[in-house]
Amino acid sequence: MVSQHDRELFRNDVRSRGTKLSAADRENILRPYLPDPSDLQRRSPQRQNKAHRRASVRTFVKAQTHRIVYTFVHIIFGIISRLLQSYHATVDRICAVIYYHHRTPELIRKDVKGLKRLPEHLSVILSLRKEDDALSVLMDEVAELAAWSVSAGIPVLSVYEKSGALKSCIPILHQAITNKMCSYYGSSIQQPRLRLFAPHHPVFDQLPQDVASDCKNGSLTVLLLSATDGRETFVDLTKTLAEMSQSGKLSPEDITLELVDAEIIQPEPDLLLVFGAFLKLDGYPPWHVRLTEMFCTGGRSSGTNTSEEAVEYHGFLRGLWHYAGAQMRFGR
């Protein structure tokens, strides 16, 4: 905390581009704010004199005070965050009642109708839970998200799950999403066209014949991502480049941002939804989240299980609202 007087001195100096004060003047202003250097010299061998012992008593008392304050502050903070959490949980319950999709695409469309913009590409970070039926729960979540996205008019949905468990069962997942669409759109003729794929997997695209029907309710591309599509791709790219460079096919100077960008082909999501207590990327592919808006639904499921939060419709909706309210600037 700098006193008003010193701040004025400092600002005057800044205004004159650092010419008013000399180096010694600045040090004099600074001196009272620096911590005692003797505090830092603890690694020097301890001298057992009386003054030192008195100092150590003082530090002991200080440390104890800090400990007590730490505990106290954390108790207060814990209470406040609990209260906030339950407040948000209540609000969310009410929201969940007001805004519910009732499995009708028209209702979802109405919910997003007033928004200024919608993401072209929505990305979601999900986590696999620990229970036995974790994978089926996860697939159900993906199916729900796919249905909401296509109803809201979002053409691309990418789902990131760290372990890549989803990739091993693409046909089953496709079936699950189709079944979910059935419950939203009714018979299969009305359904939007669904394409499901993962990097290094073929596009899973059933019913290629009824091209006519897919125009009516839009189409959805679902992309499955996992941790191996992130930093590991850079490792692979580096390996290949190193090999090429070793055999003289390329010099390290040829490696430019444009080259890497051309090699790392992945869509750039507009909005990243994180269903969790706090915002962490969990190993999400790094290159393409540069300008992605991020939204975390927050740990609001009133503390039953801390890190894993259910994927709920109003969380999805809040993310879209948030995205519509944000303004975009490209470094300008």
Partner: protein, 395 residues
């Protein structure tokens, strides 16, 4: 209207009065000391966003806003370092920012130059507190006078090292990742100081004789458990006087005809055998390091922040919720990203405290029961029946 002005003036006066200042300063000290008692993030990154909007809303010049931002930075650095944070990384200037008006860019550059050269005048203080300043980014895009100031400040503090301030100066994360790849590649295309360059074309890092040797050595060791003491002496004798065919352990060392006695000595102990298997092929064959040894860790080490602890916390002010090409690589699995709806010049301990407390709370909770926030632990999750996939949720 007038009352509110009077009120704010009165508040300002009250806050600026010496006793009040003293009380607030003491309170800050106390809180920072208290934070120090718990787990503290080792590496925090800040995106200092909102200086210009602050200037606009307060009706001051943009440059003035940046100056206020610098003051906020000083305040927050004080909090960080006093509470025990080792590394602070700040996003000062993006490569994209060169697109801004020339006037503003020049002013920012001038500010950086002045601050850095002022800092260089206080070398003694910096030394005393062990602060180290590093500039991350494309230094080649800077003007010569700024670059000189940068180099001077970096050189002066390079010997210190307990507390590190990383200033990302003309920086974007994509540029950094590209640079890391480039550095790794050029490092791997440096030929090793090898003795046989003729082998460059056909790199076979593992020799078959070695592998058979090791398999046999393994077998030998399991059998030779009863007589562990005399293995080495026996092998030496076998090398000296040909083949005593009756001795089972010794046969191992004879079969490889090209083997020198130095490598047989590696097989003397179980651990030595393992080491020998890893080291010797590289020593003998590879002229280049094998690209297969590149891992995520290799790339991480080639980032600008390679030797820093992993990023624990990333704070962005001004309510913009994207990374804007900052620390893309470093925002790994456990990095908590926080977006705060406050303009950077207003940012202070009072905004930062809840973030820190929340982080501490989460970390100490995770320490108490590590299972609660574990990773996917590799159990085989069988893809269950399709009927399960239809399970209704949410109602």
């Amino acid at each position: 209207m007038s009352t509110s002005i009077h009120l704010s003036r009165f508040r300002k006066w009250l806050l600026a009065s010496p006793p009040m200042e003293f009380v607030i300063a003491q309170l800050r000290e106390l809180l920072v000391g208290a934070i120090k008692q718990g787990p503290v993030p080792q590496h925090i990154a800040f995106v200092m966003d909102g200086n210009r909007r602050f200037a606009r809303s307060h009706g001051i010049e943009t440059v003035e806003g940046h100056n206020m931002g610098f003051e906020a930075l000083a305040r927050i650095l004080e909090v960080c370092y006093k509470s025990g944070v080792k590394v602070v990384t700040i996003y000062a200037f993006s490569i994209e920012n060169f697109k801004r008006s020339k006037f503003e860019v020049d002013a920012l550059m001038e500010m950086a130059r002045v601050k850095l050269s002022q800092m260089a005048q206080h070398g003694e203080i910096l030394d005393r507190y062990g602060a180290k300043v590093r500039i991350l980014g494309r230094l080649d895009m800077l003007k010569p006078d700024v670059l000189a100031a940068v180099n001077r400040a970096v050189d002066m503090t390079s010997g210190n090292g307990e507390r590190i301030l990383n200033i990302c100066f003309p920086y974007t994360s994509r540029d950094e990742i590209t640079g890391a790849i480039r550095d790794t590649v050029s490092e791997y295309s440096q030929p090793l100081p090898a003795n046989r360059p003729s082998n460059a074309s056909q790199r076979t890092p593992f020799s078959e004789t070695h592998i058979t040797q090791n398999i046999r050595a393994r077998a030998q060791h399991t059998k030779a458990d009863d007589l562990p003491s005399d293995v080495e002496t026996a092998s030496e004798s076998s090398n000296e006087d040909g083949a005593p065919a009756n001795n089972l352990p010794n046969q191992v060392y004879e079969s490889g005809s090209s083997f020198s006695s130095s490598s047989t000595l590696h097989l003397g102990g179980q651990t030595d055998a393992a080491n020998g298997r890893e080291n010797s092929p590289r020593k003998e064959k590879a002229v280049y390091m094998s690209p297969e040894t590149i891992t995520r860790q290799t790339l991480t080490e080639h980032m600008f922040t390679g030797d820093n602890p992993p990023l624990d916390l990333l704070v962005r002010t001004s309510g913009v919720e994207r990374l804007s090409d900052f620390m893309l690589w470093q925002c790994d699995e456990e990095t908590e990203i926080v977006f705060l709806d406050v303009l950077w010049p207003d940012f202070d301990l009072w905004h930062f405290l809840p973030v820190l407390l929340g982080w501490q709370r989460r970390i100490s909770k995770a320490k108490k029961n590590p299972d609660a926030e574990g990773d996917f632990d590799g159990e085989s999750y069988e893809p269950t029946e399709e009927s399960n996939g239809k399970k209704v949720k949410g109602l």
